[in-house]
């Protein structure tokens, strides 16, 4: 078995074991233990702090705090573990009141965005490696600009009028900015095929030399499409963290407020 496969098996086994432990503890103590809500709450808070510490680890790469890969593994499995802890803390019922509801929704959003991020980080890199070459995200605007200039030089400087008109009407905007975000994210080639088909339609109006210009333009369109593909996927890989992190901070703030409120007003929660 591969190393990653082994990691998944061991991690899943430990997660199931811990989850079973929580369920057994809940059945045994939820009614009998007077401070069960405190216990489950503090355990949940401790695991949430452990999860949040991963971000701190990423900010202190120069300290010898273990590999980020190991931290991420712990983060992922501990994140899944909080689901059962969260439900146990809620005593497997729906939250009540607006504050509890908001807290529950924040938790769901943080966990959901984490799962989406995990899915994206496992799926998108493979796709990035198969199309559009390898591009550094920060260089995409410069590369796009270079492609646009190349296309305009090809089409507008002495090219046939038919191609020039087509470029002005259909491709000017395509070369100017990133296009077709969602089709790229869903791995659809329909927009590219549509442009290439339209370019092919022009062939009948062109002589042999002009067809060469058309082929060069089609090549530039494909390169720009590859660039857009990388832009769409890389921006998604970067942006999901900008959803996950602010939600995490909000959840932590709400959780602290929740603890303060519990201690201030409960007079002994059960």
């Amino acid at each position: 078995m591969s190393r990653f496969g082994r990691q998944t098996v061991v991690g899943t086994f430990l997660l199931l074991l811990a989850s079973a432990g929580v369920v057994i503890a809940h059945r045994r103590w939820s009614e009998e233990l007077p401070n069960y809500a405190y216990l489950s709450g503090w355990v949940l808070m401790a695991v949430m702090i452990l999860l949040a510490l991963y971000n701190m680890r990423k900010r202190l790469p120069f300290l010898s705090l273990g590999s980020s890969e190991a931290w991420l593994q712990i983060h992922v499995y501990a994140g899944f573990f909080t689901v059962i802890l969260f439900l146990a803390h809620l005593k497997f019922r729906m939250p009540t009141g607006w504050f509890e509801g908001a807290l529950a929704w924040l938790y769901i959003l943080v966990t959901g965005s984490g799962i989406v991020g995990l899915f994206l980080s496992r799926v998108l890199p493979r796709r990035l490696a198969t199309r559009g070459g390898e591009v550094i995200y920060e260089k995409i605007p410069a590369l796009r600009n270079a492609l646009r200039q190349e296309a305009e030089t090809l089409v507008l400087a002495g090219g046939p009028q038919v191609i020039a008109n087509f470029y002005t009407e259909n491709l000017h905007d395509f070369f100017r900015r990133p296009k077709y975000f969602w089709p790229h994210l869903l791995d659809s080639r329909r927009p590219l095929n549509a442009i290439v088909t339209e370019l092919d339609e022009l062939r009948r109006y062109l002589n042999e030399a002009e067809r060469t210009t058309l082929e060069k333009l089609a090549d530039l369109v494909r390169r720009k499409d590859g660039l857009d593909y990388h832009h769409a996927l890389q921006v998604t890989l970067k942006l999901w963290l900008f959803v996950h992190l602010p939600l995490t901070y909000s959840l932590m703030i709400f959780s602290v407020l929740h603890i303060i409120i519990v201690f201030a007003f409960s007079g002994g929660a059960r």
């Binding site: 890199p125 550094i136 890389q234």
Partner: protein
């Protein structure tokens, strides 16, 4: 109209002389000086006469008292003959790293590590004055040709604390390092008020050896005495030989060099021209030939290939310490009725220095001492023994296209190459940020580079087994760290000459204009910015290893010895 080809004068061996300032009078003087005066002029080929070798491949250098001529651990391409004056070789103890222009190996302490929390706010490439201060025992001057000369300030103290031995007119040194691409074994400095030395570049030394029996015997003897005996003792296939047998073996081993010593420049030129073809590499052993010896690679790399259709297919590459031809000779020894020729071709990549143990010597001395188990183990390259010289295509752990990619780009040279699995890399740049954080906000690599399939080799120093960047550093600023062998640069003694950056075939060294702590550029007296060479130092000062590797959340980045294909295969399969 067909395009007209550009006609240029065909490049010749001596288009660029080692020292254009060499005059007829200098050459006359050398021709009258031993050992050249004793060399048979008529034995030199017409294309490379002695006189022209001396004119084009040598340079007369004048050193003042205390000036360091060669440093222990440096790589050099030339040997030296003392013409007048005296030099001293440091025997024991070695000079401290600071006196060789190097940083003493050290790890960051707790407080220095913690200080990195706020040091990120420092301007890029900024240095504190104390970072740029070098050992006070070391001085520097520029000679008449504007070359930097480094000298020991307090010579009596050095002589008092270190055992040294004098070398005088007529003595040779540096020839083994020049010919075998090994690091210099000792530091040598000028002991007299003035000394005049003849520096001979390796091409000239090689040609002199070809035509002068005396010089060849001299270097052969020194090589066998100083370098060969210890090497043979440490080679696994000779482990059962007695002292006498090893001594006998040392006298019968042949050594040879293939390829171009200055392969870095050649590689860059060929890579740009897109004409990197295995067929152009010098053949060491030809597939189908009678196996007349086991080849032991001493330095450099060689490509193992096999005929495939009309061309050749790369099966493996082997580096220093590895064997070729053992299995054929072992097979023929065990089954003399069914002899086989060499099964593969071995070609030099760049520069290759090797030893050849003749078949007769193998059969008489070595093979009888090995058990059946050892014979098959050495042939199959298991248990840390050298890898097979005859790998079968099915046994090669890496896909053929990946192997071609690694070989064509010379990546096998890297002992800590940054490889990225593009199927796992989310392009988050945590590795780049970690590198910047660890190096005062200055990233030391680019997360970009050539790729093959899902394997990318990023533009980061690979800490090469054959570090061509270290050839020609005038101050010893670029050096191997003494503990783990990382190639590092001491900013205090780097003079910004760009020799290392120009030499590096992988463009992994960058020249930066440095600033002071306030962010202002630091200028020289000529009001031009001071340059320093920078590159990945493998986080040599940090605990826990390279920050880039530790920072990758997805296990997509690894610093890897690409001369170990098994590890690469395991990593790709993980």
């Amino acid at each position: 109209m067909p395009p007209t080809p550009s006609i240029v004068e065909r490049p010749q061996r001596w288009d660029v002389a080692f020292d254009p300032a060499m005059t007829d009078a200098d050459v006359d003087r050398l021709m009258a000086t031993p050992p050249f005066s004793n060399m048979p002029v008529e034995k030199f080929p017409k294309r490379t006469p002695l006189r022209e070798i001396l004119r084009n491949d040598t340079s007369i250098r004048r050193y003042r008292k205390g000036e360091i001529i060669v440093r222990q651990g440096d790589y050099g391409t030339s040997a030296f003959l003392i013409l007048s004056g005296a030099t001293r070789v440091v025997l024991k103890p070695d000079l401290p790293p600071s006196l060789l222009g190097r940083q003493a190996p050290s790890k960051k302490g707790f407080f220095r590590t913690l200080a990195q929390l706020w040091s990120e706010r420092r301007p890029p490439e900024s240095f504190r004055r104390k970072d740029l201060r070098h050992d006070s025992g070391l001085g520097a001057r520029r000679d008449e040709d504007e070359n930097v000369r480094v000298f020991l300030q307090d010579l009596p103290r050095v002589l008092d604390k270190h055992r040294t031995e004098e070398m005088t007119a007529g003595d040779f040194f540096g020839e083994i390092a020049a010919l075998s691409r090994m690091p210099r074994t000792s530091t040598i400095f000028t002991a007299s008020d003035e000394a005049e030395l003849l520096e001979i570049r390796w091409q000239g030394l090689r040609d002199l050896m070809r035509s002068s029996d005396e010089l060849r015997k001299h270097i052969d003897r020194i090589y066998r005495e100083r370098a060969l005996a210890s090497y043979l003792r440490a080679t696994p296939i000779f482990r059962h030989l007695s002292k006498e047998q090893l001594a006998d073996l040392a006298t019968q081993v042949q050594f040879a060099s293939y390829g171009d010593y200055d392969w870095s420049g050649d590689y860059k030129r060929l890579a740009k021209a897109g004409s990197m073809r295995p067929e152009k590499e010098p053949v060491i052993v030809q597939e189908g030939d009678y196996p007349n010896g086991v080849v032991l690679l001493r330095a450099g790399f060689a490509r193992v290939s096999q005929k495939f259709g009309s061309g050749e297919r790369t099966l493996n590459y082997i580096g220093a310490g590895q064997l070729f031809g053992f299995d054929e000779i072992a097979h023929n020894f065990q089954k003399p009725q069914d002899p086989v020729p060499y099964q593969h071709t071995l070609r030099a990549i760049g520069y290759t220095h090797l030893l050849i143990v003749p078949t007769r010597v193998m059969e008489q001395l070595v093979l009888p001492t090995l058990s059946q188990k050892e014979l098959s183990r050495f042939a199959n390259g298991r248990d840390g023994a050298p890898p097979p010289s005859a790998p079968q295509p099915s046994a090669t752990p890496i896909a053929a296209d990946t192997l071609e990619f690694l070989t064509a780009n010379r990546f096998f040279n890297g002992t800590a190459t940054m490889v990225i699995d593009l199927d796992r890399c989310t392009r988050c740049d945590d590795c780049v940020r970690a590198c910047a954080s660890t190096h005062d906000n200055n990233p030391r690599f680019l997360r970009h580079g050539p790729s093959s399939g899902r394997l990318m080799v990023a533009n980061a120093c690979m800490h090469c087994a054959d570090p061509v960047c270290m050839i020609g550093c005038p101050t010893g600023a670029i050096h191997r760290e003494s503990f783990a062998g990382q190639v590092v640069i001491n900013p205090a003694t780097c003079i910004g000459c760009k020799a290392c950056a120009n030499n590096c075939p992988y463009e992994a060294i960058r020249m930066v204009e440095i600033r002071d702590e306030g962010g202002e550029f630091i200028m020289g007296e000529d009001l031009r910015p001071i340059l320093k060479a920078t590159k990945c130092d493998l986080c040599v000062e940090s605990w826990g290893g390279p920050a880039c590797e530790r920072a990758c959340p997805h296990g997509a980045l690894e610093r890897m010895n690409l001369n170990d294909l098994e590890s690469l295969a395991d990593w790709m399969k993980r």
